[in-house]
């Protein structure tokens, strides 16, 4: 479904991604794990068009070369990016945030249905629908950011560290939701530092180090590997 081919990203002189290749197949959850500053967010931003790659290609659904497109057109093809730090619209109500996610859609009735579907998954958001989004807790904001992306009915969902800064119990429920929306058909590329949670949710994974993919394979294999256990799961 998504094929990242030999992608490089530069920020001025900084070479943040050095020829990264990665595949996501329809229906999968794929995890991308790595330590701070290794280029995880840069990769997601390259896919969604916020930071166009300096080299390489990104192909979506076999035919669309998306690495030259502006972000709003990439969204239109069905790729939703939940950025690191959530970036909810703090000046909007909860419901307006969700409607912003449905900006490109014109099917009013189905938008209303999806809103109810979201409220079914996150009853908290329903209770707070008319409240300013700035008043939500960190966990609720993360739920809102994911929900807002889902309102666009994306084919592919890019999640950047959804567990960041959240209490373990909230992380559990976020990951439960991620599996739930995957079961309902969304394909997910999940970026995490929390390798344990991410690899348990995903079928396959990639490990990134200083802008390069250093390992890849089924999650079970990665979880069993000595390197992952040492560096990312904190075992000795």
């Amino acid at each position: 479904m998504l094929s990242v081919e030999n992608v490089s990203v530069h920020y001025g002189a900084i070479h943040a991604l050095k020829g990264v290749s990665l595949q996501v197949h329809a229906g999968e959850i794929v995890a991308l794990i790595g330590a701070n500053g290794t280029g995880k967010s840069s990769l997601l931003r390259a896919i969604s068009g916020l930071t166009p790659p300096s080299e390489g290609a990104i192909v979506f659904q076999g035919t669309h070369a998306i690495h030259r497109l502006p972000p709003h057109e990439i969204v239109g093809l069905g790729i939703a990016h939940v950025p690191e730090g959530r970036a909810i619209f703090a000046n909007f109500t909860v419901e307006e945030n969700l409607m912003a996610g449905a900006y490109l859609r014109h099917d009013r009735l189905e938008i209303a249905e999806d809103l109810e579907w979201i409220f079914g998954i996150f009853p908290r958001l329903k209770e707070r629908r008319r409240q300013s989004a700035a008043t939500l807790s960190g966990g609720e904001q993360q739920m809102l950011a994911i929900s807002r992306a889902l309102m666009g009915r994306p084919r592919l969902l890019l999640l950047d560290e959804p567990s960041l800064g959240l209490a373990p119990i909230i992380v559990q429920s976020i990951f439960k939701t991620i599996r739930q929306i995957n079961a309902q058909g969304a394909t997910i590329l999940l970026v995490e530092q929390n390798a344990h949670m991410a690899l348990h949710a995903a079928a396959r994974g990639y490990v990134i180090q200083t802008g390069q993919i250093v390992m890849e394979g089924p999650s079970a294999e990665l979880l069993a590997s000595k390197r992952v256990r040492q560096f990312y799961l904190g075992e000795t």
Binding site: P71, F89, A100, Y103, L104
Partner: protein, 302 residues
């Protein structure tokens, strides 16, 4: 007492015109964090072009409500186009430049319109007479207090347009996109919002309102020259800051306060100070409450 009420009414009328101009300042500031100094000149163009529209259509010689509505529509459409053009040619190429470059460009656009307008082949420097599109007559009389049809019209049109804009921005899909862009370009683009297009719409809307203000102004001050936009533009800018820049209801309230303040100054102090009062208010606001009356705490965009 009657005199005072008559003054208040007069102030409210001019205030409504400042309010309409202030809306454009506030909207553009909202999306670009730019004080669009050319906005007062777009207002002037609205008034100036109306003189020509009235001549070409012949509506200037046969005063009627329909003629007025027609000129209002033409002025708004023309200014919307001009606003879009200014954004496209002057501001869009600087989208990733510093805000200072943008500000200097805005001042440049303003100087260009004011000075090119004074060329003999363009509008010339001598004031042109604004046609009397409606005959002024008393509309309501209470004792000695009279509200004329023009006063009622100016206030009514500007209230209606402000209300419509508020509804548009708060309740429609495009309004939502404008508010999203005002919050953050990147996040807005991740919603599928075409940021540049939305910025263009914002300029068109704000400029159309300035065009309407130009016509309403012409009905009260029927002599228009290429510099006519300068003072009203600055006063409307002060109104936007006073109300809280970025806030639509704030722009309206700010406009009314400036209109009242200058009319009362002219009436009870001296008309010499009439144009200075806006600057005094600006200084006080910046010292006491820079976020304005209805403004939110200003969050810096990153």
């Amino acid at each position: 007492m009657e005199l005072f009420l008559q003054q208040l009414l007069q102030g409210f009328k001019f205030g409504s015109i400042y309010a309409l101009i202030a809306l454009g300042y506030t909207m553009v500031y909202g999306v670009l964090r730019l004080i669009n100094f050319a906005h007062g000149d777009v207002f002037m163009l609205g008034a100036m072009l109306s003189i020509f529209f009235a001549r070409w259509t012949g509506w200037g010689t046969r005063p009627s409500w329909l003629a007025l509505a027609g000129i209002l529509a033409l002025a708004m459409a023309a200014c919307a186009l001009i606003g879009a053009l200014i954004e496209r040619l002057a501001y869009r190429p600087l989208r990733n430049a510093s805000r200072l470059s943008l500000l200097i460009t805005a001042i440049g656009v303003s100087l260009f319109i004011e000075n090119a307008g004074q060329l003999p082949g363009v509008f010339g420097a001598t004031p042109r007479a604004f046609p009397s599109l409606v005959e002024t007559r008393p509309w309501i009389t209470w004792g000695t207090l009279t509200i004329s049809n023009v006063e009622a019209l100016v206030i009514g049109v500007s209230l209606a347009l402000t209300g419509a804009l508020h509804f548009f921005v708060q309740r429609t899909r495009i309004g939502l996109a404008m508010r999203a862009v005002a919050f953050d370009f990147r996040t807005a683009s991740l919603m599928g919002i075409h940021v540049n297009r939305v910025i263009g719409w914002t300029f068109m809307l704000g400029s159309a309102l300035a065009g309407a203000a130009g016509v309403l102004y012409g009905l009260s001050y029927p002599a228009i020259d290429p510099l006519s936009g300068f003072l009203p533009g600055i006063k409307a800018f002060v109104a936007a800051v006073l109300g809280g820049i970025g806030s639509i209801p704030g722009a309206f309230v700010g406009g009314i306060i400036i209109g009242e303040a200058e009319t009362l100054t002219a009436g009870y102090l001296s008309s010499t100070y009439k144009d200075a009062i806006a600057f005094l208010i600006l200084i006080v606001v910046l010292l006491v409450k820079p976020s304005g009356l209805l403004g939110r705490k200003v969050v810096e965009k990153v």
